[in-house]
């Protein structure tokens, strides 16, 4: 299996930008979910609270995973940059 080259700075930035866009999208969904859940709760529909909390947790974990991805790509790209400098 050929050894995978670390991403260049430009590739790293592109990957990070993509991850950032995805995180922002997930955050918008999470904001909508929170307001919709609060609205339902105040209207007396308590049964929506549990599934909403689970989905919100999944969205948060996805964001946290993407954060780890960003940190890794960032470190790899800068390591590569230092190697070539």
């Amino acid at each position: 299996m050929p050894e995978q080259n670390p991403p260049t700075r430009k590739q790293g930035l592109t990957a990070i930008d993509g991850a950032l866009a995805l995180i922002a999208l997930l955050l918008i969904v999470q904001m909508w979910l929170l307001t919709a859940t609060l609205e339902s709760y105040l209207a007396g529909h308590h049964e929506v609270a549990l599934p909403a909390a689970i989905i919100s947790g999944v969205l948060f974990l996805t964001c946290a995973g993407l954060n780890l991805f960003v940190n890794r790509i960032d470190a790899e790209a800068r390591d590569a940059g230092e190697g070539t400098a």
């Binding site: 700075r9 790293g12 930035l13 990070i16 930008d17 991850a19 950032l20 995180i23 922002a24 997930l26 955050l27 999470q30 904001m31 979910l33 929170l34 859940t37 609060l38 609205e39 339902s40 709760y41 105040l42 209207a43 007396g44 529909h45 308590h46 609270a49 549990l50 909403a52 909390a53 919100s56 947790g57 969205l59 948060f60 964001c63 946290a64 995973g65 993407l66 954060n67 780890l68 991805f69 960003v70 940190n71 890794r72 960032d74 470190a75 790899e76 790209a77 800068r78 390591d79 940059g81």
Partner: protein
Amino acid sequence: MNWFRRLNKQPLWRDEFSIHTDDERYVSRRQFTKFLVLTSLGMFVGNVWILVRSWLDKAPVYPEETIADANDIPIGGARLFRYPTRNDPCILIRPDEQTYVAYSQKCTHLSCAVYYARDKNRLECPCHQGYFSVKTGEVLQGPPPRPLPRVVLERRGGNLVAVGMDTRTES
């Protein structure tokens, strides 16, 4: 693949305050990502808070309270009262001869007091022009997100007795 492995051997302070201009773009993106993830955590905590509140909420017990003599209210008339506590203003309306309805007077938008507009046969909030149906309490127009909570009435003899609140609304 170990995602938790820190590949960069530089100390953290050299990462965050790099002397290379190019690295600043990475730092700002990394910090922004952290900020977004923290915001996401805040949203999750908010959802968990709602869940805990829904678990802790118990079914409220409402007192029975005579609020008016039915014949004292003219057709098309309204009367203000407080139920279930002194801090909960409500409005009793008699839209026709046999019908009596009562709602919380607090608008579901920003808690302004709604009043009965007899000529248009609807409840109106003067703050942001939110209108509610007299028959059901449903929102007819404006920013209120939910119908008005309804006071459950019983007619006992000539008296109107409030026996509960219907806060659960279809949405």
